[in-house]
């Protein structure tokens, strides 16, 4: 019972309180300046009616999936390699540390110069946002594999391929999963930025377009949708992470 209250009732209550505060704050301004929840809800309905909402969501999710999977498929193998090869990691680390603090948004002028307006600059920026956290998480996952695992494999005479596929990959998997989680978050945040700056479709563009027409209700509708989709993606990956941790016997902190 107490568990149920904690899991469903309290979060629902928090959402209701949030909506009330929003409504209260909005009531001090005209809807053009600060729309309330009702205005935003109506704006979402309108977006659905004109057939724009699904199109923008699909485009955003497609761009996101492409960029995120591209970043992951580049970062994981590189991270596995650098995690195992200490001299290589030592050599490359300064470059990584130099590039990492540069905000993906700072790449935008170059991205537009190189790729023009459209899908590619947005994908590029999401890629940059996901790549570094994924890379660093993979490296640290490999490096924190307990030495005893290698000792045992070595003792039984495991071949290098078996050590890689049978020890390194599964032992690093929970850490890689954490990386996927973190990268998903940063990538999603930069999706909007990427689309605001260099695209003519998608949720980010929806927000910019609404600003151009001074449709504050649509701006907030776009923001809310970005938040909701981010939340759903996060739920999805958390479920995956918990499944892995359970299987690996890691006590996940809820």
């Amino acid at each position: 019972m107490a568990e149920k209250i904690q899991k469903f009732f309290l979060p629902t209550l928090a959402v209701v309180v949030f909506l009330m505060i929003w409504q209260y704050a909005a009531s001090h301004y005209t809807p053009d300046l600060f729309p309330g929840p009702r205005d935003v809800f109506l704006a979402i309905l309108e977006l659905i009616k004109v057939g724009r909402l699904w199109k923008d969501i699909t485009i955003s999710l497609t761009r996101f999936s492409i960029a995120y999977s591209l970043a992951v498929t580049c970062a994981i193998p590189l991270g596995l390699f650098l995690g195992r090869c200490r001299p290589c990691h030592r050599a490359i680390d300064p470059v990584v540390q130099l590039l990492r603090p540069i905000s993906p948004i700072a790449w935008f002028p170059l991205a537009v110069l190189w790729f023009g307006i459209g899908n590619t600059p947005a994908i590029f920026i999401i890629f940059m946002a996901a790549f570094f956290p994924m890379l660093l998480a993979t490296i640290s996952a490999v490096r924190s594999i307990p030495a005893i695992n290698y000792k045992v494999a070595n003792n039984f005479g495991a071949k290098p391929a078996l050590v890689f596929l049978g020890i390194i990959i599964p032992a690093a998997f929970p850490g890689i999963m954490t990386g996927l989680h973190i990268a998903l978050g940063t990538a999603w945040i930069h999706l909007v930025a990427g689309e605001m700056l260099g695209a003519d479709s998608g949720l980010g563009y929806l927000i910019i377009d609404a600003r151009n027409f001074l449709r504050t209700d649509q701006i907030m509708a776009g923001m809310l949708l970005v938040g909701i989709l981010g939340l759903l993606l996060n739920k999805l990956i958390t479920a995956g992470e918990q499944f892995i941790n359970k299987k690996w016997g890691i006590n996940a902190q809820q």
Binding site: I148, N155, L162, W248, G249
Partner: protein, 275 residues
């Protein structure tokens, strides 16, 4: 040489120093000789830091001696070998694999066919009384069960030597006694050579045919005590008590000596800091 046999494992003037970054080399094991015979059950005991793990790691091939050599079956030990399996205090099981898969891993490394491996893994599990737990992951097993799985994994590849570095030290007293008996029981079937590190003197007298007592600063072999008692041994037996007393007295000497050396070293340091 005992009974004219040649030793299975020989440490020939073998020593190990670690070169820590700060100062001079640290001698973990002063050059020394030790012979272990085929099928022998040898317990290594000694105060903490006297080099027990160093010795067993040298014999298992995880470390190389900085002087002298370690020979097994007449050949120098250059790297670990599946014919000689190490059992660790913290089990060394792969947490993402079930008990059965952990055992299968060792057999897979040996290139044994799937069907044959499965048969042997299940037999090994039943040998340690864990048939019902084949599909459980290590985190679902108690410490004693985990060590049984590790033991089954080792025995499944039929090694001729088992190295055990304080294998039961993390277990509660009851489980420890159980596992001691199980280990002796398993050894009846196949007489493998066992080198067993422990800091529990009772355990050493209960298990070992011979006890090698080590002393610290620098780590070295101090004393050999042969326990000439048949298995299974009776802890309340008067002969058992006699060996126990002998070992405790020998250990006490080593222990006091270690304490004296440590005090001296501290005394020197105090004087040094006083100036």
């Amino acid at each position: 040489m005992v009974n004219g046999r040649t030793p299975k494992i020989r440490l020939l003037n073998a020593g190990k120093s670690f070169h820590t970054s700060s100062e001079a080399a640290h001698v973990a094991l002063a050059a020394g000789n030790l012979d272990i015979y085929e099928g022998e059950f040898v317990c290594l005991v000694g105060p903490s830091g006297c080099g027990k793990s160093t010795v067993i790691n040298l014999m298992a091939g995880f470390e190389q001696p900085t002087e002298g050599s370690v020979m097994i079956d007449g050949k120098p030990v250059l790297k670990p070998d599946p014919d000689r399996i190490m059992i660790f205090q913290d089990y060394g099981l792969f947490p993402w694999k079930t008990a059965l898969d952990n055992i299968l891993f060792g057999l897979k490394c040996r290139g044994i066919s799937k069907a044959e491996a499965k048969k042997r893994a299940l037999a090994a599990l039943s040998g340690v009384g864990l048939s019902a737990w084949a599909q459980r992951h290590p985190h679902e097993l108690s410490g004693g069960m985990k060590q049984r799985v590790a033991l089954a994994r080792a025995l499944a590849v039929e090694p001729s030597v088992l190295f055990m570095d304080e294998p039961f030290a993390a277990l509660d007293a009851f489980t420890r006694l159980h596992l001691q008996d199980e280990l002796l029981e398993l050894r009846k079937k196949r007489k493998i050579t066992i080198i067993f590190v422990t800091h529990d003197l009772d355990e050493a007298v209960y298990l070992g045919e011979r006890i090698v007592l080590m002393a610290p600063n620098p780590g070295r072999f101090e004393n050999n005590i042969t326990i000439d008692l048949p298995y299974p041994r009776d802890r309340t037996d008067k002969h058992f008590d006699r060996y126990r007393k002998e070992l405790f007295e020998a250990f006490d000497l080593v222990h006091k000596e270690a304490g004296r050396i440590r005090k001296e070293a501290e005394g020197i340091q105090e004087e040094g800091s006083g100036i």
